[in-house]
């Protein structure tokens, strides 16, 4: 009886330790979003589209709206390879207002712009006009010219 009891206690401690470590690791290192911002592909995104429009108006920048979902495996790859591409990342950070829409939560916004699946990037100007759409997990080679072109289009106005 004693052997079994010891084994059980050992496993219980093991499980508690495992639970504690993973819980805290996630809280500290693997945050996707809090109340105000989303953290995706090493970029910080607004969680509210309205807030995005305000900032866009003040700073005269286009808005990049990224539709994602936590269960979307292609999104993870898209974030790491395309959004995480150093050139793309610096353009997005400098010249865009970034808004992330979670498809599990922001279904209305997705419906309004006809976005049906993640990943999907929508480019808007501050007057809510759609400048371009990038559906699907495209590679950096496809994405870079689009971010450059949309930026230049807004600047030239």
């Amino acid at each position: 009886m004693k052997t079994k009891k010891l084994l059980s206690i050992f496993v219980l401690i093991l499980l508690l330790g495992f639970a504690y470590i993973t819980y805290n690791t996630s809280l500290e290192k693997i945050r996707f979003s809090d109340q105000n911002y989303s953290y995706l592909g090493d970029l910080t995104w607004y969680r509210s589209l309205d807030r995005g429009f305000e900032v866009a108006q003040q700073e005269n920048k286009p808005i990049a709206v990224y539709f994602w979902a936590i269960w979307c495996q292609y999104c993870a790859g898209f974030q790491a390879n395309t959004l995480g591409n150093p050139e793309i990342k610096s353009i997005l950070e400098k010249d865009y207002v970034l808004v992330a829409m979670d498809l599990d939560l922001d279904r209305d916004v997705a419906r309004r712009y006809g976005v049906s699946y993640p990943p999907y990037v929508l480019f808007l100007d501050s007057n809510d006009r759609v400048l371009d759409r990038v559906p699907g997990a495209v590679g950096p080679g496809t994405f870079l010219p689009i971010v450059t072109q949309v930026r230049d289009q807004v600047r030239s106005k």
Partner: protein, 674 residues
């Protein structure tokens, strides 16, 4: 207004309550007032639910789109078989199926035991309570709701057509996946009920009463999960059969604890004092985890590709989950604190019971890893409003934490299967050697053959501890796999000489189930780490018949391209054409020789689209797998994957099923007490 279908549900609830009252009167007051009504009422209830289910199917086949549920999940242009399977495509229908199977179990229990013993009566009481509760849940969700309810302005309007079945569900595997799953969910009710009765009364017959039920549940749950995997592989184009999606993981958890239960029961039936608490608790936990799986599947709380949405039954299920957890936990605790009847002597660590106990614990650990991984992100989201991930890449969490325990499990399997007191010394020595080899193999550095894929973009972003476990070499799976495989072979040889035919059949079944474990692990590890993948292939349709080089030494040829409507030839099909299938016939070459051929399809339907990859298997176990994403701008977009050893997984799954069926076919003799 109460619809006819709802009327049937009410009537069945009344019949169920009368039967329950009869049993309770007998049990508590020893009164026979309603005794003669018990079995007839249970049967009546079962017939009413059967009728309700058939009625729902009839509505689907007839296309009665004034019912909201039918309107949501069906349409006129669907082939007949998908009209029938539409009945279990959504939440309300699956609960009706679930409750129907619970009462089929209750009826079976009534007919086989005739409620002759206190054990059978008490088990029936608990089964009925659960059954009636599920009638209530089904009624709340009711599949029989008309579109007029709450919309008086619609009265008189008859929708011309339904909104159609999601294209991903228009598939053979999706016809059988939900029924397998929910029959499994329902069948576990009896092992749970019997375990609770045992915890309450120490009635020894519980294990025997529920033995076949637990095996049956194990078979159906297991096959439900497997078929879900096959569907993901053949339809979703997830590129694999297992993705640690919260929903598939949730169904896997009770299967793990049920597996642990079957192992506990195997020893418990030989010696009643062995695992006298562990066994019933594992049975109870499996039932509770089934409820949890149902919550995960349908609550909308868990972010998953299985996005069914709607949280209406959540509360009712959560209540039932906490109630059953409290009851089982409390009773288990009571039994634990009681003076045991017989004190089991402690024979140290190296004996069969203790090693078996390690096996049970490893199953529990594996179940907990999966449970925790799908649960705590939701907990954090609900309590702190933060969205966190379990790892940079979700599947890494489950792979990292499950892997070490899988090794222990295989070692335990190898050791336990042929354990004998006489040869203990030699067996221990072999175990130590294998364990040593395993640890050495963990350290070998080979070209990207590790627990986590070092070439993945997520690798660098994972937390340190994940990297540490993630850099264990997968070579370490081979010593335990070979050890376990040899043990199974040894077991078969030892037992084939058994004199009784029943013993021979049973040990053949056990052999098949355990060798299946080896094959599935081998197949899944090799196929997921050694696969080759070429994405973004675009072949112009005009290149039909030409061999096109696609890189890495592979080439492809489009043999033919065609479009058809899914609906059988008929007047309606031409006009609607809502489910159109694009087929591309392909040949895949490596160098100059053909390695695979077949048809990849793309289905565009009313609600979304689906891909049906070309899967071309070979005798070596390698699959040539091509996903076709639908014709665009005159180009055929394709993804090619070469998946070695994947067929071991399918063979393993078939052996699992065949093995447990053989075991079920042999009734084990009742071991007399003392």
């Amino acid at each position: 207004m109460v619809t006819f279908g709802d009327g049937l549900l009410y009537a069945s609830a009344v019949a169920g309550v009368i039967a329950l009252a009869g049993l309770l009167l007998k049990e508590l007051k020893n009164s026979d007032v309603l005794k003669d009504l018990i079995s007839p009422m249970i049967l009546a209830c079962t017939w009413l639910l059967t009728f309700a289910y058939l009625l729902l199917t009839y509505y689907f086949v007839a296309g009665d789109f004034t019912l909201e549920y039918v309107w949501q999940y069906s349409s006129r242009d669907l082939p007949l078989i998908y009209k029938i399977s539409g009945a279990w495509a959504g939440q309300p229908g699956t609960y009706l199926l679930w409750v129907w199977v619970i009462f089929l179990s209750a009826a079976w229990l009534a007919l086989t035991t005739k409620h002759a013993t206190p054990l059978s009566r008490r088990t029936q009481i608990i089964t009925l309570i659960i059954g009636i509760y599920f009638i209530l849940i089904t009624r709340v969700l009711t599949p029989f709701k008309t579109i007029y309810e709450g919309r008086p302005d619609l009265i008189g309007y008859i929708p011309p057509d339904g909104s159609g079945l999601n294209a991903l569900l228009v598939n053979f595997w999706m016809i059988i996946h939900p029924p397998l799953m929910f029959i499994g969910y329902a069948a576990i009710t009896i092992p749970f009920a019997a375990a609770i009765v045992y915890l309450l009364t120490k009635d020894d017959g519980w294990e025997e009463l529920s033995r076949q039920w637990s095996r049956f549940t194990w078979l159906f749950l297991g096959m439900g999960i497997a078929v879900g995997g096959v569907w993901a592989y053949l339809v979703l184009g997830w590129g694999g059969f297992w993705a640690w999606d919260p929903v598939e993981t949730a169904s896997f958890i009770p299967w793990l604890t049920l597996t642990a239960y079957l192992h506990a029961a195997a020893l418990h039936r030989k010696n009643r004092s062995t695992f006298s608490i562990a066994a019933p608790i594992l049975a109870a936990v499996s039932f509770i985890l089934v409820l949890y799986a149902a919550i995960v599947v349908r609550s909308g709380l868990f972010n998953s590709v299985h996005a069914f949405g709607e949280a209406s039954t959540g509360t009712l299920l959560i209540i039932s989950l906490f109630a059953s957890a409290l009851v089982s936990g409390g009773l288990g605790m009571r039994r634990y604190l009681e003076e045991p009847d017989k004190i089991e002597e402690d024979r140290g660590f190296w004996n069969k019971t203790s090693i078996f106990y390690v096996t049970l614990l490893v199953f529990v650990i594996l179940a907990f890893v999966s449970f925790w991984g799908i649960t705590y992100p939701v907990f954090i989201q609900l309590t702190q409003g933060l969205k966190v991930g379990v790892a940079s890449d979700t599947k890494n969490f489950f792979n990292v934490w499950s892997y070490p325990f899988t090794l222990v499990l295989l070692l335990a399997l190898g050791f336990c299967l042929n354990y004998s007191e006489k040869e203990k010394k030699k067996q221990k020595k072999i175990l130590f050697i294998v364990a040593g080899l395993t640890i050495i193999a963990m350290l070998v550095r080979l070209d990207n053959f590790y627990v986590l894929d070092h070439n993945s973009p997520f690798w660098l972003r994972e937390p340190e501890i994940y990297k540490l476990i993630g850099s264990i070499s997968l070579l370490s799976i081979f010593p335990p796999l070979i050890y376990a495989g040899m043990a199974v072979a040894d077991y078969l040889i030892r037992n084939l000489g058994a004199t009784s035919k029943r013993a021979r059949i049973k040990s053949t079944g056990l052999t098949m189930v355990h060798i299946a474990v080896v094959l599935i692990l081998l197949g899944s590890i090799i196929s997921s780490t050694r696969e080759e993948k070429i994405e973004g292939i675009n072949i112009p349709l005009s290149a039909k018949g030409e061999l096109v080089d696609i890189g890495k030494g592979y080439a492809m040829k489009i043999v033919d391209f065609s479009t058809r409507s899914l609906t059988e030839a008929g007047g309606e099909a031409a006009s609607s054409g809502d489910y159109t299938v694009q087929s591309v016939k392909l040949e895949v070459y490596k160098g100059a020789s053909i390695i695979g051929s077949g048809t990849a399809e793309y289905l565009a339907g009313k609600s979304g689209s689906g891909t049906f990859p070309m899967v071309s298997s070979s005798i070596t176990g390698t699959d040539v797998y091509v996903i076709f994403q639908g014709l665009g701008g005159g180009f055929v977009p394709l993804t090619l994957q070469i998946k070695p050893a994947i067929n071991f997984v399918w063979i393993g799954i078939v052996l699992f099923a065949a093995g447990i069926i053989l075991i079920m076919a042999v009734k084990t003799k009742k071991v007399k007490e003392g």
